[in-house]
């Protein structure tokens, strides 16, 4: 009985405004998260509408030996890199992705890497000094910044 009276007094202390304000504050505290995710979504939309042109470069020792435009590429095409010592890497381009299917290097890291299709991704085969990287170029960018 006595306890109940005390609990009642405790509850009476809370006014409706308190509940509204506390709930509102909890929602408000998530506002930065919402703003950030919205902003991120917007920038990705903008990037999509800019129609990025992705190009995959296969480089040996810094020199480009093969390049393919991934954005316009359809179907399957193959390229095999061979050097004088008998090292080889078989490269397969499937639609917008590129991968190394077979190589005779000892660690097979390039084969295990699988397909890559996003700008900035790379496949590296250190024993053969081979590097495959994807570079992005905006459709609006006409400058020759991408070094071939």
């Amino acid at each position: 009985m006595f306890k109940q009276i005390r609990a009642n007094r405790y509850i009476k202390m809370i006014r409706p405004g308190d509940i509204i304000v506390v709930i509102g504050l909890f929602i408000l505290s998530f506002a930065p998260v919402a703003v950030f995710s919205w902003h991120e979504w917007q920038t990705t939309q903008a990037a999509d509408s800019n129609a990025q042109v992705l190009t995959a470069y296969v480089k040996h020792d810094g020199k480009t030996v093969y390049k393919v435009n991934l954005t316009t590429h359809h179907g399957v095409s193959h390229f095999t890199y061979r050097d004088a010592g008998g090292d080889y890497n078989k490269i397969k381009v499937t639609d917008h992705a590129i991968e190394v299917t077979e190589a005779n290097c000892f660690n097979q890291i390039d084969v295990k890497r699988g397909k890559i299709s996003k700008p900035g991704q790379t496949i590296v085969c250190l024993p053969h000094k081979l590097l495959i990287e994807i570079k992005a170029k905006d459709g609006t960018d006409t400058g020759g910044m991408v070094s071939a």
Partner: protein, 177 residues
Amino acid sequence: MTNNQTRKYIYIALLCAQGIIIGLVERAIPFPFAVAPGAKLGLANLITIISLFTLPINDCFLLMVMRTVLSALLGGTLSTFMYSIAGATLSFFGMVLLKQFSRRFMSTIGISAAGGLLFNVGQLCVASFIAQSWQVLLYLPVLAFLGILAGIAVGVAANFLFEHVKTLTFLKAQHEI
């Protein structure tokens, strides 16, 4: 007149001293939530709440600034001072606004919860300014959750104080006239 003035200054000084002591004692409590570094209970907010209900706004502001500066001098660094002055100013104005808008509609609980949240907002704004990155604000939900809970606790405590400490009840009634 002079008597009243003196009484008011003594009251402000008392509140200020209490706030600093509460802040220092709070600093000695090891915080159990390791998930949120930088989170504080903000018990010293109690003093700001009490002053809001018993003093004119400009005196409250003076009290708030004095308390922040002195507790930084007594046990803080420049960076903690920057965080707490930004947080305290923001939460002070937020609480003043809420108090003006809601005469009978809400108790001290809502006001101090808002103060707790705004303190964290101010803190994180300074942090993101120092870090030059708005990503820091993504930390707000974690901090705000604890801040609001501590704010509710402080609000309950303030309610009890106004109910049971006769001097405060009297001063509050006098202020409301």
